[in-house]
Symmetry: C2
Subunit: 173 residues, 2 copies
């Protein structure tokens, strides 16, 4: 990462992932702050409906996948954001590693608006709202696997936008 | 567990969970044995569509939940099996602990047929086919959390059946 880019761009320190701050972009999938109900003769606590799965049918249906992501060096330069017009997309870490999340507000002009960065703990997943600008998976520190729930089927379900500003994301936690 | 029950019932040793053996009952959610494709500029392997999510709409939709299950003492006596006529139900372990799975073939008479038991490794999830008889979550050894994908919404989505035979399940692995 060149010093020039650092000087002319914006360096974002990822903020801790909290449901309230993340609400414009999606859901945080976690037990903290949620009520459970007891099932299976009292042997299990069920934290229900932490995230809905919002899929536009049009021949598509939800599917469960696993992503195995290589860790990114930090700071990470944000070049491209994407959004999925036909589905939510949920990620839950399977190895207990923290990861970074970069999202952008809707500018109202089919391009990303203001960018925010979050640091998810290893026991926090996220589900992006349909059509929410976000960065591709950003593992940090170690190869990290994620359970993913999104959409299988026809149709163009990935818009991409290349940023014309320089945004660097990092975490010191 | 009384010696009488052991003498008059059936003791099942859980077999290792393998996709082929489990196919009549559902999908094994795992990377092993599946091809991946490279995404995100080569930083991520995507193991796609390991399990479909089969939800009968009727006002319902898929949801993502977390279950926190207490470990069961072994051998475990199987008393009740259940099935979900309106949805698949997928479980993936979040703490890397093995767990047990008890399922039954469809007898064709709205009651469970022959029972089989499997031992899932800590990096294997399962998705039960819609309407497949299975036991409630069976954590072993430690409190275990699972990401769960099933159905939110109206309608009767849980049939239960109390067994009239004695089946004990255990694992020595």
């Amino acid at each position: 990462m060149g010093r020039e880019a650092m000087k002319t761009g914006m360096l974002l320190e990822a903020e801790p992932l909290r449901a309230a701050a993340f609400a414009p972009f999606g859901y945080v999938i976690e037990t903290a702050g949620h009520r459970s109900r007891s099932i299976n003769q009292g042997t299990c606590e069920r934290f229900d409906a932490l995230a809905p799965v919002d899929i536009v049918p049009d021949g598509g249906r939800p599917m469960i996948s696993i992503f195995r992501a290589m860790p990114r060096p930090l700071p990470h330069m944000v070049r491209i954001l994407e959004r999925h017009p036909l589905s939510t997309q949920a990620f839950y870490p399977l190895d207990g590693h923290p990861f970074l999340i970069v999202v952008a507000y809707d500018s109202g002009h089919a391009v990303p608006g203001q960018i925010r960065a979050f640091r998810a703990a290893g026991n926090q997943g996220v589900s992006y709202h349909r059509n929410t600008w976000h960065h591709a998976l950003l593992a940090i520190g170690a190869v990290s696997q994620f359970l993913v729930v999104d959409r299988d089927g026809p149709g163009a379900n990935c818009d991409q936008h290349e940023l014309d500003t320089t945004v660097l994301v990092t975490t010191t936690a």
